[in-house]
């Protein structure tokens, strides 16, 4: 069980006078249970790529395989509903899609839509709301009375409520304050490590990539520019040419290395770097 993209291309407005190729011949494999970051500039095809994972967009050419599902150019997908239950997609600014009168009914909407009984759907709503940090006192409240960060938790709970194996997140922390972003990222990490969910996250935040993800996929102009595990990605000096703003710790380490200090090449946390510095200063 894993996710594979094979020779995938996507052209927007095909068969019109203004076609635009958003993805070109993408070949990728995403391991089951991984936490994968998809990065790249605005317009590089990140959102287009992930929207293929639950067949919201269909390939113009090539195919995507998710577990036993095959999404192929020009072919009808068998059991689309089941695919969408396995792959939960959280859009950018998902809080704009809340619509029910109470938080409980909003979160229970997804499971009910997938045929789960009302009673169980409500139990699930209660459970996932707790998971995203909103206790039972929120159930009867209107989602529209919440702060932006809380609304986003409700929207994410609405996806978790039908228990997808794969969680696809498109810039989940954009516009949140640092504390809200951290809580959100900690939740995804927990879903990944404790619940074994495969997480695929589109992001611009390299601090999050370094601190939470295992794998990085970099897209550029609709093509795969680079696939790497996270540590190698930040170790590798080729990222300098990739228009990526490195995390502060990487920047700090690099500048010191350029001035002759030496560190363990795998060390990307402040305490370890500072301990190595201590060694250098004591040693003299």
């Amino acid at each position: 069980m894993s996710i594979t993209f094979k020779n995938l291309s996507h052209i927007y407005n095909e068969k019109t006078p203004f076609p635009s190729a958003a993805l070109k011949n993408i070949n990728l494999e995403i391991a089951d249970g991984s936490f994968t970051a998809i990065i790249g500039e605005t317009g590089s095809g990140k959102s287009t790529l992930v929207q293929h994972l639950n067949a919201l967009l269909l390939p113009t050419d090539g195919e995507v395989r998710v577990n036993d599902f095959v999404i192929k150019a020009g072919e009808k997908i068998k059991d689309l509903k089941q695919l969408r239950r396995q792959v939960g997609l959280v859009f950018q600014f998902p809080e704009y899609q809340l619509f029910e009168e109470t938080i409980e009914t909003d979160v229970a909407f997804g499971p009910k839509n997938f045929g789960i009984e009302e009673k169980e759907a409500k139990e699930r709503a209660r459970y996932v709301l707790e998971l995203v940090g909103l206790d039972a006192s929120y159930l009867e409240r209107s989602p529209f009375d919440l702060s932006g960060g809380q609304k986003r938790r409700v929207a994410i709970a609405g996806i978790l409520a039908f228990d997808p194996d794969v969680l696809v997140l498109d810039e989940p922390t954009a516009g949140l304050d640092p504390q809200g972003a951290k809580e959100m990222m900690d939740l995804f990490k927990k879903l990944n490590t404790d619940f074994g969910k495969t997480i695929i996250m589109v992001t611009h935040d390299m601090e999050h990539v370094l601190n939470y993800c295992d794998e990085v996929i970099l897209l550029k102009k609709g093509e795969v520019e680079l696939v790497s595990d996270v540590k190698n990605f930040f170790k590798d000096s080729t990222i300098d040419s990739l228009d990526v703003q490195p995390p502060h710790i990487v920047e700090f380490k690099r500048q010191l290395e350029a001035r002759g200090f030496a560190f363990d090449e795998d060390a990307f946390d402040l305490p370890t770097l500072v301990q190595s510095l201590k060694g250098e200063f004591d040693h003299e």
């Binding site: 500039e41 605005t42 504390q179 710790i249 001035r259 510095l277 201590k278």
Partner: protein
């Protein structure tokens, strides 16, 4: 430039959102306002431009009390750029959007084109004057919003998390533009932000908590109260975390506000041993 005294405001009768706020902003300065969500940051921005009406206290801008009588005079001095680039684009093209405020201000038609040209050049959008908003990036839309504010010949710009929804390139565009305007045109900047790197570049920082000023001062002064900032769920800039860790292992240096500064100090200290 701006003097706020004992400012109070409530959205409803149950709870006050702003509970007796005092601060001043010097002409030509760069002030950051920080605080967690719900601390009253955006409410203060709206009060300062008269989008909301205070319940008591006073707001004085350039020697004028903000009241109904002076509202238009004050709005010709101070403007705001909000967070969401899609919610503030009014015109059907870039030129229309910049013209909107000018038309409101009844700037004669014959002068308008020159003003639009000038400020679209300042924000680097001159080549896009005929473009529609759908064909622009978030950063470009925010630059147009800034041009619209600048075209009104304002003295003070308030940025209400104006870069927070943008990608790294968009953020950089906005920061560079604002720094340039601040330094070269002496624009007074009030930035509501979560970006601690931006906070470090400010002249003054105001920290809000539950509708009152928890503390204010230079970035270095504010960051001495690290424990309080952490308690307020605010981010501590990386460069300060580094210096704290270094201090704990006995490496002390004059307070640095950039990574480059810390590296330089470390090299100097190292060469002395």
């Amino acid at each position: 430039m701006i003097k706020v005294e004992d400012l109070h405001f409530n959205y409803d009768e149950h709870e006050e959102t702003i509970k007796g706020v005092n601060f001043t902003v010097e002409a030509g300065s760069y002030t950051s306002i920080i605080g967690h969500n719900g601390s009253g940051k955006s409410t203060i921005a709206k009060l300062l431009i008269g989008l909301l009406e205070k319940s008591s206290g006073s707001i004085e801008i350039d020697g004028m009390e903000l009241n109904e009588e002076n509202l238009y005079a004050i709005r010709s001095l101070i403007g705001v750029v909000f967070q969401n680039p899609d919610n503030q684009f009014i015109g059907s093209t870039v030129a229309d959007d910049i013209a909107f405020g000018l038309e409101n201000k009844q700037v004669p038609q014959e002068n308008m084109q020159a003003i639009i040209d000038k400020f679209s050049k300042v924000v680097g959008m001159y080549d896009f004057l005929d473009r529609e908003p759908t064909s622009l990036s978030g950063g470009q839309k925010q630059r147009v919003a800034i041009a619209g504010v600048l075209a009104m010949d304002l003295k003070v710009i308030i940025l209400d998390e104006a870069a927070s929804m943008l990608d790294p390139r968009g953020k950089k565009e906005i920061h560079e533009l604002i720094n340039k305007l601040h330094e070269e045109e002496n624009l007074t900047v009030i930035s509501i932000t979560h970006d601690m790197e931006e906070v470090l570049r400010s002249d003054k920082v105001i920290v809000l908590e539950h509708g009152h000023v928890k503390m204010s001062g230079t970035p270095a002064e504010i960051l001495q109260h690290e424990d309080e900032l952490v308690a307020l769920e605010l981010d501590i800039p990386f460069v300060y975390k580094v210096q704290k860790e270094l201090k704990e292992i006995g490496i002390e240096m004059d307070t640095q506000v950039s990574i480059e500064g810390v590296v330089e100090q470390l090299c100097q200290l190292h060469s002395k041993i």
